[in-house]
C-alpha cells in the first residue's frame, strides 16, 4: 500500500475537524478523497445516515467482516451464542449491553483473541483480504479454521483492536514510542527516520497533544487517559480496514472523548468498518450508524438505532435505555459537618525521561467533610489520580501537608499512618492491577471483610454474597480470578472491596468508568445510601461531568495540577 506522508495525514485531520465544526454535524461529509488507505477508493461513497445495509450487489456494502452463529464458551460456560455480525466499511456499529454480557469477549474473538480457555465456534467467520484492487476482487479469509497464520494476516493490518484493559495493555517495560513503532512495524516502506514523526502523528491523531513528550515514557508514567489514547494510536497504526474499539473512551474526559469519537467517525468516513463497544450511550449515539445490544448471550437490535441524534449536549435523562436519574447537583448537606480530610497546599512533581518535570499536582487545597461528596473532574492527565494517591498516602508530597481528622496524615511514616488506615478507602483507577493475582474474588472480599484475618471465602460466605449483591454482581463470580472478569465486573469488585472495609473517607478514582448506566446508577445509589447511613466522605474522581454532578455536593475541577472550583 502507499505510505502516507505525515503532513498529509495531519492535514487531513485538521480539515476534518474544521469541517465538522463548521457543519456542526458529521453527516453528509463530502467526498474528500482522503481515504485512510489508498486501496479503499470507494470509501467516499459511504456516508453516514439512513442508508443502512446497501443492496447485496453494491460492492461498497460488502462487509469487511462477516460472522454468523458465533458462540463462545469458557470451560463449558457459554458467554455468547448465535451472534451474527457484519462490519461494513464506512459504518460504525456499536454494541452496548450490561456489564459482563460478553461484549469484550466478542470483540476480542473477532481477532481470534477471545481469551485463555475460550472455545469459539461460528458458522461463518470471514474477513476480506486486503488487496490493491477493488474490493470485489478481494478474497475472503475463512477464519473458522483459526490457523495462527491467518490470524496474523488479519490482526493489526486488517483489523485493529483497542482493548478494554487500556491501563495494562501497554508493555510496562517499553516506551510508548517503541510500542507504536512495533505497531507500525509491519507497514512497508516507512523509512526509519520517519518513524518517530509518524508515531508522534499517530499519538496526536489519537488526541494527545504534544505527542513527542510521550514517546519516551512508559505506561506507568502516564495517566489513565493518556494510556488509553496511546493504545488507540497503536490500533490504528497500520491503517486497518476494521477498527474494533472496546470502551475506548472509558477513562477520558468529555473533550478528549469527543476527540476520540470524532476520530472513529473520521475513520469510518475514510472507509473503515468500525465496531464500537461502549456502555456510554451518549457516545454511542454520537457516532454509531447502528446500535445493537448484547444481553443474555445474544445480539439484538437495540430499539430503533441510532437512538440519539449525535449531540454532545444530550442529557443522561434523555437516554432511552437506562432508568432516568435526577441530574441536578445534590443539595449541600444541611448542617456543617466536621472536616475529615484536609489537604493543605500539596504539590507533587514527576521527572520524566529527558529531565522534564511534570507538575502533576500544584498547591492543592481541599477540605472534605463527613457526609460530603466532592466531585473531581478535569482533563485527562490533569493530576486527578495523583491527588487521589497523595490523599491516600501512596505518594509522598513534595510540599504541603494532609490531615485526617485533624491529625497529621502525610507526610508521615506508614507506621504512624497505619492506625488510621481503616478510615480511608480507595477504588483505584486500574482495578485489575490492584488485585492479588493469586486470589479469587471470594478471597479478595473475604480478606477485606475480615480486615485481613482470613482469606477463606467459606468463612465469610454470607458477607461475600452480600457484598456481591450490593454491587449487582453474580454470586458465582466469587470463585473466579480478576483477570478473567469483565471490565465492569472488576470495577465493581474493587468497589465492593473498598466498601467492605467500611471506610469513612473513600477516594473513588474513575470508579464507574467501565459500568453501564444501570450498573452506574446502582453503584451511585449504594454510595449515597452509605453516605446517609455512615456519613461517608467521598472524593469522586471522574471524567464524566454528568455522573459527577449527580453524586457530588460540590465539584472541583483540576487543570494542569491546579484545583479550581467548577462552574
Amino acid at each position: 500500500m502507499v505510505a502516507h506522508g505525515v503532513p498529509r495525514d495531519r492535514d487531513r485531520r485538521r480539515r476534518g475537524r474544521r469541517h465538522a465544526a463548521r457543519s456542526g454535524t458529521a453527516a453528509a461529509h463530502p467526498a474528500g478523497g482522503h481515504g485512510v488507505s489508498a486501496e479503499t477508493p470507494d470509501a467516499s461513497a459511504t456516508t453516514r445516515g439512513n442508508d443502512r445495509m446497501l443492496a447485496a450487489g453494491d460492492h461498497a456494502a460488502r462487509p469487511a467482516l462477516s460472522v454468523r452463529g458465533l458462540e463462545i464458551d469458557f470451560n463449558g460456560r457459554t458467554i455468547v451464542r448465535g451472534v451474527d455480525l457484519d462490519l461494513v466499511p464506512g459504518r460504525v456499529l456499536a454494541i452496548v449491553g450490561p456489564s459482563g454480557a460478553g461484549k469484550s469477549v466478542t470483540a476480542r474473538a473477532l481477532v481470534g483473541l477471545a481469551g485463555a480457555g475460550a472455545r469459539v465456534r461460528a458458522d461463518r467467520f470471514e474477513m476480506l483480504e486486503r488487496g490493491a484492487e477493488g474490493r470485489e476482487a478481494r478474497r475472503a479469509i475463512d477464519l473458522r479454521s483459526g490457523r495462527d497464520r491467518d490470524w496474523r494476516r488479519v490482526r493489526g493490518r486488517l483489523a485493529g483492536l483497542v482493548l478494554q484493559d487500556a491501563l495494562v495493555a501497554l508493555d510496562p517495560l517499553r516506551t510508548v514510542g517503541r510500542e507504536l513503532d512495533e505497531a507500525m512495524g509491519r507497514l512497508p516502506g516507512v523509512p526509519k527516520r520517519e518513524r518517530r514523526a509518524r508515531a508522534a502523528a499517530l499519538l496526536e491523531r489519537a488526541g494527545l497533544d504534544d505527542p513527542a513528550a510521550y514517546l519516551g515514557r512508559r505506561a506507568d508514567e502516564l495517566s489513565g487517559g493518556q494510556r488509553q489514547r496511546a493504545l488507540i494510536a497503536t490500533a490504528i497504526a497500520q491503517h486497518p480496514d476494521i477498527v474494533i474499539a472496546d470502551e475506548p473512551t472509558a477513562s477520558l474526559d468529555r473533550d478528549t472523548r469527543d476527540g476520540v469519537l470524532e476520530l472513529l467517525r473520521e475513520l469510518a468516513r475514510g472507509g473503515v468498518a468500525v465496531l464500537l463497544v461502549s456502555h456510554d450511550l451518549d457516545a454511542v449515539g454520537r457516532v454509531a450508524d447502528e446500535v445493537r445490544e448484547l444481553s443474555d448471550g445474544g445480539l439484538r437490535e437495540a430499539g430503533a438505532a441510532p437512538v440519539l441524534p449525535p449531540s454532545a449536549s444530550a442529557p443522561r435523562g434523555a437516554q432511552a435505555v437506562p432508568a432516568p436519574r435526577p441530574t441536578q447537583p445534590r443539595a449541600a448537606a444541611t448542617s456543617p459537618r466536621p472536616v475529615v480530610l484536609g489537604v493543605h497546599g500539596v504539590s507533587k512533581a514527576f521527572t520524566v525521561p529527558g529531565g522534564r518535570r511534570i507538575q502533576a499536582v500544584d498547591d492543592a487545597r481541599l477540605n472534605l467533610r463527613a457526609g460530603e461528596t466532592v466531585g473531581l473532574v478535569g482533563a485527562s492527565g490533569s493530576g486527578k489520580s495523583t491527588l487521589g494517591r497523595l490523599i491516600l498516602g501512596l505518594e509522598r508530597p513534595d510540599s504541603g501537608t494532609i490531615e485526617l481528622d485533624g491529625r497529621s496524615w502525610s507526610p508521615a511514616t506508614e507506621a504512624e499512618r497505619r492506625p488510621m488506615r481503616g478510615a480511608v478507602g480507595h477504588v483505584p483507577q486500574d482495578a485489575l492491577s490492584s488485585f492479588d493475582p493469586r486470589r479469587t474474588v471470594g478471597a479478595i472480599l473475604a480478606d477485606a471483610l475480615s480486615r485481613g484475618a482470613s482469606r477463606s471465602p467459606r468463612t465469610h460466605r454470607d458477607g461475600i454474597e452480600a457484598a456481591l449483591d450490593e454491587v449487582a454482581l453474580s454470586r458465582d463470580l466469587a470463585t473466579r480470578r480478576p483477570l478473567h472478569l469483565s471490565g465492569g465486573q472488576r470495577q465493581r469488585v474493587a468497589i465492593a472491596r473498598a466498601l467492605a472495609a467500611e471506610p469513612r473517607v473513600l477516594v473513588c478514582d474513575e470508579a464507574v468508568s467501565a459500568l453501564d448506566p444501570a450498573s452506574t446508577d446502582g453503584v451511585l445509589d449504594l454510595l449515597e445510601g452509605l453516605q446517609r447511613e455512615r456519613g461517608l466522605a467521598l472524593l469522586f474522581i471522574s471524567h464524566d461531568p454528568l455522573v459527577t454532578a449527580q453524586i457530588s455536593h460540590r465539584t472541583l475541577r483540576m487543570a494542569s495540577g491546579r484545583l479550581e472550583s467548577a462552574p
Binding site: A114, G115, A118, R144, D436, R438, H484
Partner: protein, 281 residues
C-alpha cells in the same frame, strides 16, 4: 475454531502430568520409607561371580563391579538421596528466603548489607564451600547436605529478593496498604505467597540439583562414604565404566535422579496450575 494456541498450551493441558508425577513421587517416597518392600534384597550383598552383569532377567538393571544388584541398590539409595535433596533444598531455601526478604523488605542499609553478604557467598564457588564444610566436619550425608544447602542459599536469596521487590512495588500490595494491613500481614499474606509460588518450581528443581551436587562431591571422592547406594555416589562410581561398555551402571542411577527431579518439578507445576485455574474452572 478454537482458542489461542499460546494460552491453550497451559490452560488446556490435561492434568495427567499431575497424577503421573504424584504417582512417581509416591513410589519414591515409598522406596525411601520401606525400601525392602520394593526391593527385598540386600543392597550391600556382594557376589563377585555375578559382577558386571548387564540388565537381564535375574538382575533387571544389571549388577555392579561387586555383583550387587543395581535395582536393589537404587531403591535402597532413595532415602539418602531424598534426604539430601529435600533437606539441602530446605536449608538453602530457608536461608535464601530470610536473606532475600530482609534485603527486599528491610531498610536500605540492610539490603546493602545483605547484598554484600550474598556476594561473599557467591564468591565461594559452591563446590569449594562444600569442600570447606567437608574438610571441617568430614564427609557424610549430614555434611553434604549442609554443604549443598549452604552453597545454594545465596542463589535462592537473590531470586527471592528480586521477586519480592517486584511484588512489593505492585499495585495490589499498595491496595493492602490502603486497607491498613500491617507490614507483617502484607509480608505473610500477599508478598510471600506471590513470591514463593514461582519459587516453588525453583525449589523442586533444587531438589534434583541438590542430589546432583552431592554426586559432584562423590565425583571428587567426597560424597557419601562407600558402600552407600546413594544415587549420586552410584552415578559417579558407575561413570568410570561407561567408556568400557557398562552403561547401565551410570544410566540407571542417572535416570533415577532425573525421574525424581522431573516428577517433583512437574508436580510443582501442576499444583501451581491447579491453584491458578481454580477460579476459571
Amino acid at each position: 475454531m478454537t482458542a489461542q494456541p499460546e494460552v491453550a498450551v497451559r490452560r488446556r493441558r490435561p492434568d495427567a502430568s499431575l497424577w503421573i508425577s504424584a504417582a512417581v513421587l509416591f513410589g519414591i517416597v515409598l522406596a525411601a520409607l520401606v525400601p525392602s518392600l520394593l526391593a527385598p534384597g540386600d543392597p550391600l550383598a556382594i557376589d563377585p561371580a555375578e559382577a558386571m552383569r548387564p540388565p537381564g532377567p535375574r538382575h533387571p538393571l544389571g549388577t555392579d563391579e561387586s555383583g550387587r544388584d543395581l535395582l536393589t541398590r537404587i531403591v535402597h539409595g532413595t532415602r539418602a538421596s531424598l534426604v539430601i535433596g529435600v533437606a539441602a533444598t530446605a536449608i538453602g531455601l530457608g536461608i535464601g528466603i530470610v536473606f532475600g526478604a530482609a534485603a527486599a523488605l528491610g531498610p536500605r542499609w540492610l539490603d546493602w548489607g545483605v547484598g554484600r553478604v550474598l556476594e561473599v557467598g557467591f564468591a565461594f564457588p559452591g563446590i569449594l564451600l562444600a569442600l570447606l564444610v567437608i574438610a571441617l566436619w568430614g564427609p557424610g550425608v549430614v555434611t553434604s547436605t549442609i554443604a549443598v544447602g549452604l552453597s545454594t542459599a545465596p542463589g535462592y536469596a537473590r531470586v527471592v529478593r528480586g521477586a519480592m521487590l517486584g511484588v512489593r512495588a505492585s499495585a495490589y500490595v499498595e491496595a493492602d496498604v490502603v486497607l491498613g494491613r500491617s507490614r507483617r500481614h502484607r509480608l505473610v499474606h500477599t508478598i510471600l505467597p506471590n513470591t514463593l509460588a514461582p519459587l516453588f518450581a525453583l525449589a523442586t528443581l533444587g531438589l534434583g540439583q541438590a542430589i546432583v551436587w552431592a554426586s559432584a562431591l562423590a565425583f571428587l571422592g567426597l560424597g557419601e562414604p562407600p558402600p552407600s547406594p546413594e544415587w549420586g555416589a552410584l552415578l559417579s562410581a558407575g561413570r568410570t565404566y561407561l567408556l568400557t561398555g557398562s552403561w547401565w551402571l551410570t544410566v540407571f542411577p542417572g535416570t533415577a535422579i532425573v525421574v525424581a527431579a522431573v516428577a517433583a518439578t512437574l508436580l510443582g507445576r501442576a499444583l501451581q496450575r491447579r491453584t491458578r485455574q481454580a477460579g476459571t474452572a
